[in-house]
Amino acid sequence: MSTTTVAHHDDHAEHPTGIMRWLTTTNHKDIGTMYLTFSLIMFFVGGAMILGIRAELFQPGLQLINPEFFNQLIGVHALIMIFAALMPAATGFANWMIPLQIGAPDMALPRLNNWGFWLLPPSAILLTLPFTLAMFGIGDGALATGWTFYPPLSVQGGIGVDFAIFAVHLLGVSSVLGSINIIVTLFNMRAPGMTLMKMPLFAWGWLITAFLLVATIPVLAGAVTMLLTDRHFGTHFFDAAGGGDPVMFQHLFWFFGHPEVYILLLPVWGFIPQILETFSRKPMYGYKAQVYSFWAIGALSVVVWAHHFFTSGMPVPALLYFMYSTMAISLPLAVMFFCWIKTMWKGSMSFETPMLFTVGWIILFGIGGLTGLVLADVAADAQYHNSYFVVAHFHYTLFAGGIMGIMAGVYFWLPKMTGHMYNEKLGKVHFWLTAISFNLTFIPQFFLGLAGMPRRIPDYALQFAEFNMISSVAAFVLGLSQLLFVYNIVTCIKGGKKATDQVWEGAQGLEWTLPSPPPYHSFTEQPTVK
C-alpha cells in the first residue's frame, strides 16, 4: 500500500481536469502550452488590426476607418505583437523546452510560473478593452500614440493611455517573473555534468534575455508610471512648462526599447543553430563564439538606445557615440551569421519545414540587419527616421527575425510536444506563402520610405499609391496564409503519424531522449551529461 502511494507521488501525474487543470497548473509543459496558445491567439488579434490598416491604405483617401481609430490600431497592433505574441511565444518555448534541455524535472519556481502566465490575459484585456468601451460611448478608444507612448501626445490622450499603462505594468511583472524563474532554473537545476558552457544554446539565449528583461523592464515601468503621474497627479516630468523634458521620456523608453529587440531575438538565435545542426546532421559550428556573441550583444544592447531618436536633437559627441556603438553591434552579429552558415556548410542537409523556415529566416533577417547598419548613420537617419523605410526594416527584424524564427521552432518541436508529425506538405506551402507574401508586403515599403512617405499616416499623397496597393494585397495574402499554420497545428495536436523519440534524424540533446510526447512529469531519473 505504502509503496504504491510513494510511486504515485513520485510521478506527479495526478492533476485536476478541465478548466481547473489550466488555472491551477504548475507544470512547466502545461504553462508552456498556455503561453504558446495565448501567443497564437494574440498573433491573430494583432494581425487583424494591421489588416484593417492595410485595407485603409489600399488606396489614397479615407475609405474605411477614421484617423483617430487608425492611430489606435497602429499602437495597439505593435504592443500586442511585441508583448502578447512574440514574448509569450519565446516564454512558452522556454517553459516547455528548458527543463527538457537541461534535464530538470520542472522549472524552479512553478507557482510563480503559473502567476506569470495568468497575468497575461488580463493585460491583453486591459489593452483592448477601450475599443469595446468606446463602442458603448465610454472614453475615446485605445492608446492612440503609437506603441512608444511619447508625451506630450500621451499626456493629451484619453483613457486608452491609462489602460495601456496598466497593461504594460502587468506585462512587465509577468516578464520579470518569467525571467527570474528562468535564471533560477538555469543556475540551479542543470543535470549533473552540464556546465554552463555545455548548456544548449537556446538556454543561453534565454539566460541573456532574462537578464536584459530584469534590467530594463523596471525602467519602462518607471517611465510609464511617471507618465501616469504627469497625466493625473500634476507632476511635470515630461512637461517643459514645469521644468521637465518630453525627450527624457524617449531616453527612458528606448533604454528599455532597444534591449527589447534583443530580448525578442536572443531566444530565436538560441534555437536556430539547434535546428541547423539537426537538419545539417553535423554539430553546430562555433558554440563558444555564439555564446560570447550573445554576451557582447546583451552588453551592447543597453548602451545604444538613442539611435532610435537621432532627430530629437543631441550634442554632436552623443550623436557620434551612439552611431559608432550601434555600428559595433554588427560585429557579434556577423560572427553569428558566420557560425550559422558554417554549420550548414558541408553538412548533409535536408529541408523539412523547420529547416526551410530557418534558411528563409537567415536570409530575411540578414536584410533586416544590413538595413539596420545604414540606419545607424546619423545624417542619413534624418531621412530614414519615421519613414516607411524604418517600418520595413523593423518588420524584417521582428516579423522575419522574430515570428518566422518562432514558426521554425514550432515546426521543430511540435512533434516532440504532441507526439504526432504535422503535415509536411502543408508546412512547406505555409513557408513559401509566408516568405513570398512577406517580401511583397515589405519590399514596397522600403521604396515608399525612400520616396518620402512618413509612417503612421492614415491617408497619403497620390505618388505613393502603387506601392501601397501592392503592399496591402500582399499583407492580406500573408495574413490569410497563417490560417494554414493554425490548421496544421490543430490537426497535429489531434492526431497524425506517430513521432519517434528522436523525431528528427540529426536531433541532438536531452529533450530528444524523452518519449514524444514527454511524460507529464519529465525526467523521473536525473540524466547526466558527460
Binding site: 492611430n71 518630453p246 548533409s348
Partner: protein, 390 residues
C-alpha cells in the same frame, strides 16, 4: 473584380513608372540641399556595399544548399575550430572587412556628415522659426528685411476630398498643398529654429534631407540651403494626433530678387491686416470673415457644422462657452469665457493667441456666436481683442 482591375492597373503603372521616373520611385527624390546630396551618396554607397555582402553570402548559402544535401548523399564533414595560424587568419578576415566598413568606409564620412548637419550657424545668412501646432505649421522670419513676417500654413486640399468615402477626382498635390507657403531664397544657408506649441512634430521635406523634432518648450535647430529654385513638399513626420497626416510642408525656393519682392509684398499685406484691426467692423463683415477662419482652423475638431466630436471635441452649437458672456462687468475678459478659450486654449485645444491676428480672432468668435446654430447676436471687435491681449 473591381479590386482585381485596380491591382493590375497598379502593377502596370508601377512597371511604367520604373522607366518613367526611375530616379524617383526607387530611391530618394532629387536632392536640392548639400545635406540631401550627402545623404543620397551615403545611402547609395551603403546600399551597394550591403547588397554586395548580401549576395555574396547568399551565393555561398545557395551553393551549399544545392551541393551539401542529404538527397545527394553528401556525407557531413567534421568541423574543427580554427587552430593553425592560417586558419585563424582566414576566420578573422570577414571580421576585419566588417570593421573596415563600419568604422572607416562608412564611419569616417559619417563623422563629417554629422558635423556638417549640426553646424547650423556657420555662414547662415538668415533665421526662420518654424512652430508646429496641431495640425499646422507657423513660420516666422527672425532677422533681416523680412523680420516680423509671420504666418500660418494650413493644408489647402479641399475638405471634401479628404473626407471619408470621397470617390471623386483628387487634386494632383492631394494632401501636399498649403494656403501659405514658406518662401526661401535660393543658395542661402537658412538656420531653422524649431519648436512646437502642443505635442511634438517633425518638419520634414525629403528633398532637403534634414529633419528635426519640434519639441514644445524647447528650441531645436537645423538648417537648409536650397540650391535649386522650385517648390518642395513634405509632411510632418512625428505622430501628433488625428491630424498627423494632414499637416504638409510646402517651400518655395526662389531667386534672391524674387524673394526680396515677396518680402515687400508680404509686409504690405500684414500692414493692411493690422490696419483692419483698428477699424469698426459690422456683424456681417465679421461673420463672413469668421466663416473662412473657422473652416480652416477650427472645423478639424469642432466640425464644419459645429457639432464637434464628443467626448474629445465638444460641440459649439449651444455650448455654454460659445453662447455665454465674454467680458465681466469691468470689461475684462472672463476666465473660461469664449475669448479666453480661443486665446489660451484648454487641454487638447491649442491657444490661438500666437497663431491668429486680432481680426481673425474677433471674426471667428463673432462667427461662432452667430452661426453654427447659435444666435447670441453680439459682436466682438478686433480692437477689443487687441486690448484683451495686453
Amino acid at each position: 473584380m473591381r479590386g482585381f482591375t485596380k491591382i493590375s492597373l497598379a502593377l502596370s503603372a508601377m512597371l511604367v513608372s520604373v522607366t518613367a521616373h526611375a530616379d524617383y520611385a526607387w530611391n530618394f527624390p532629387e536632392p536640392v540641399t548639400p545635406m540631401a546630396l550627402d545623404t543620397l551618396h551615403v545611402h547609395n554607397k551603403f546600399m551597394l556595399i550591403s547588397m554586395a555582402i548580401f549576395f555574396v553570402v547568399l551565393a555561398i548559402m545557395i551553393y551549399s544548399i544545392f551541393a551539401h544535401r542529404k538527397s545527394k548523399n553528401f556525407k557531413p564533414v567534421k568541423d574543427h575550430a580554427p587552430s593553425t595560424a592560417t586558419e585563424i587568419f582566414w576566420t578573422l578576415i570577414p571580421f576585419v572587412i566588417l570593421l573596415l566598413i563600419d568604422f572607416v568606409i562608412m564611419g569616417i564620412p559619417a563623422y563629417h556628415s554629422v558635423v556638417m548637419m549640426e553646424d547650423t550657424r556657420d555662414k547662415a545668412t538668415m533665421v526662420v522659426k518654424v512652430t508646429g501646432s496641431q495640425w499646422r505649421w507657423q513660420y516666422e522670419y527672425m532677422d533681416g528685411d523680412a523680420k516680423g513676417i509671420k504666418f500660418v500654413s494650413n493644408l489647402s486640399t479641399p475638405k471634401e476630398q479628404t473626407d471619408k468615402g470621397y470617390e471623386g477626382k483628387k487634386d494632383e498635390q492631394y494632401l501636399l498643398e498649403v494656403d501659405n507657403r514658406l518662401v526661401l531664397p535660393v543658395g542661402e544657408k537658412v538656420r531653422i529654429l524649431m519648436t512646437a506649441t502642443d505635442v511634438m512634430h517633425n518638419w520634414w521635406v525629403p528633398q532637403f534631407g534634414s529633419s528635426r523634432l519640434a519639441v514644445p518648450g524647447f528650441l531645436r535647430e537645423t538648417w537648409v540651403q536650397v540650391d535649386k529654385a522650385g517648390t518642395y513638399r513634405g509632411q510632418c513626420k512625428e505622430l501628433c494626433g488625428k491630424g498627423h497626416g494632414y499637416m504638409p510642408v510646402v517651400v518655395d525656393a526662389v531667386p534672391m530678387e524674387e524673394y526680396k519682392a515677396w518680402v515687400v509684398a508680404k509686409k504690405e499685406e500684414m500692414a493692411k491686416a493690422s490696419a483692419g484691426a483698428d477699424k469698426e467692423w459690422t456683424k456681417d463683415e465679421l461673420v463672413a470673415e469668421g466663416k473662412g477662419v473657422y473652416e480652416k482652423n477650427c472645423a478639424v475638431c469642432h466640425q464644419i457644422t459645429g457639432a464637434g466630436l464628443p467626448p474629445a471635441f465638444p460641440a459649439l452649437t449651444g455650448s455654454k462657452v460659445a453662447t455665454g458672456p465674454i467680458f465681466d462687468a469691468d470689461g475684462k475678459y472672463l476666465k473660461d469665457g469664449h475669448l479666453d478659450r480661443v486665446l489660451n486654449g484648454i487641454r487638447v485645444m491649442p491657444g490661438w493667441k500666437a497663431l491668429l491676428n486680432d481680426t481673425e480672432i474677433a471674426a471667428v468668435i463673432t462667427y461662432e456666436r452667430n452661426a453654427l446654430g447659435n444666435s447670441v447676436g453680439d459682436v466682438l471687435q478686433p480692437a477689443q481683442v487687441k486690448a484683451a491681449r495686453q
